[in-house]
């Protein structure tokens, strides 16, 4: 999940994220990944912002508000917290759209410039950086990244599906995990195991073939 580009304008501050990394996937699978990952990232971004934390790896917590702005926000909103919510419009405008290789996520609308003010993706902002969109070269926090990988793996396994014949001739644990890695993509054995148990049909197939003992 790599940031491959960014757009900063009066109506849009967004970053483009590659979700497919060159993988050849059916259109149906791609669409599901875009929808699921896009919604997940927007939701996790909003929750992180409310907790005054960046969802971006290495960015940490948001810096407290300046004394003057805190006073104004307390008077008008009733909160002096650096949660990037004054009237809520910028957060309401946080959204995502599908692109050729994944999604773009950002603030679309009248608060696009304010979003760049906080994220400083343009490099021109004089505000303290409170980044909620990853810049080029950055990634989301490991926990978010890990769940996105699981969403992608589940979309592939559920949409493409498994057949008993996929596991024909499997007699060792290594053979089984090699096949699973081919289907789900590169993952640790622990993640592959959980990916199996998230897929009811696959559990049934492996149970019928008496292969569940390998987990």
């Amino acid at each position: 999940m790599k940031v491959t580009g960014k757009t900063i304008s009066d109506s849009e501050t967004s970053v483009e994220i590659d979700l497919f990394e060159g993988r050849s996937l059916p259109l149906k699978v791609k669409k599901r990944i875009q929808e699921d990952v896009g919604n997940y990232l927007v939701e996790q971004t909003l929750v992180a912002m409310n907790e005054k934390k960046s969802p971006v790896q290495g960015e940490g917590g948001f810096k407290a508000l300046s004394k003057n702005y805190r006073k104004r926000k307390l008077e008008e909103v009733g909160s002096g917290e650096a949660n990037l919510e004054f009237d809520g419009v910028m957060k309401d405008e946080l959204n995502f759209y599908p692109t050729k290789n994944g999604i773009e996520i950002g603030v679309y609308g009248e608060r696009a410039r304010a979003a760049d003010g906080h994220n400083n993706l343009s490099g021109k902002s004089s505000l303290p950086t409170r980044r909620f969109l990853p810049d080029e070269g950055q990634t989301y926090k490991k926990s978010i990244q890990a769940e996105v990988d699981r969403i992608v793996a589940d979309a592939i396994s559920e949409e493409v599906g498994f057949k008993k014949s996929d596991f024909k001739g499997v007699t060792t644990k290594k053979e089984l995990f090699d096949i699973l890695a081919q289907k789900f993509g590169p993952m640790s054995r622990a993640e592959l195991t959980l990916a199996v148990f998230r897929n009811e049909d696959l559990v049934e197939i492996l149970s019928d073939l008496d292969l569940l003992g390998f987990f």
């Binding site: 939701e43 909003l46 919510e85 809520g88 959980l194």
Partner: protein, 168 residues
């Protein structure tokens, strides 16, 4: 793996096929990881944990913030949190080895249930105008939770089913 079914205005039922999945520990994990760890965090951020018919990701703002919430709480985010009583009854409850519910518990005071439904589906005034806008925090029939919540539920079920099947 599991299905979200709704037959109440303030509770959703999570159901799975395999018997013995839902035990006390599983319900405890559902409470800490899903209800407290995701649903209530989303609500606190003004984000609906429900993928609703209306499709609003964020709760609608207060119509007249000077009147409500007044000086009782901050105007933003719209978090359904005034005294905290209503959300304290948002719980995971075991029904059977295959079923549990997420939502306002049946033993909650009547006024909590009334308030929960009013917030969840909205209310209209005598003139028919909208009084409280719907701010969905429990799914209605045909709706489900948002993906962040569903992922937590799914991961929890996967761990539990693995533990059950691996111990056979």
């Amino acid at each position: 793996m599991f299905k979200v079914k709704v037959s109440s205005k303030f509770r959703a039922t999570i159901q799975n096929k395999l018997n013995k999945v839902v035990d006390a520990k599983f319900v405890q994990d559902m409470q800490s990881e899903v209800v407290d760890g995701e649903i209530k965090r989303m609500i606190a951020a003004g984000v609906s944990p429900v993928d609703s018919y209306e499709g609003n990701r964020r709760f609608r703002g207060y119509k007249n913030p000077k009147k409500y919430p007044g000086d009782k709480k901050s105007k933003r985010p719209v978090s359904l949190y005034l005294s905290g009583v209503m959300l304290s009854f948002y719980k995971a409850v075991r029904v059977s080895g295959r079923r549990l519910t997420l939502g306002i518990t049946t033993d909650a005071p009547e006024e909590v249930k009334v308030r929960a439904v009013a917030n969840n589906v909205g209310t209209v005034s005598r003139s028919g105008a909208e009084a409280i806008p719907p701010r969905r925090f429990i799914p209605l029939k045909g709706e489900t939770f948002r993906i962040s919540v569903l992922r937590k539920i799914k991961n929890l079920y996967a761990r539990r089913i693995k533990a059950l099947l691996s111990s056979k």
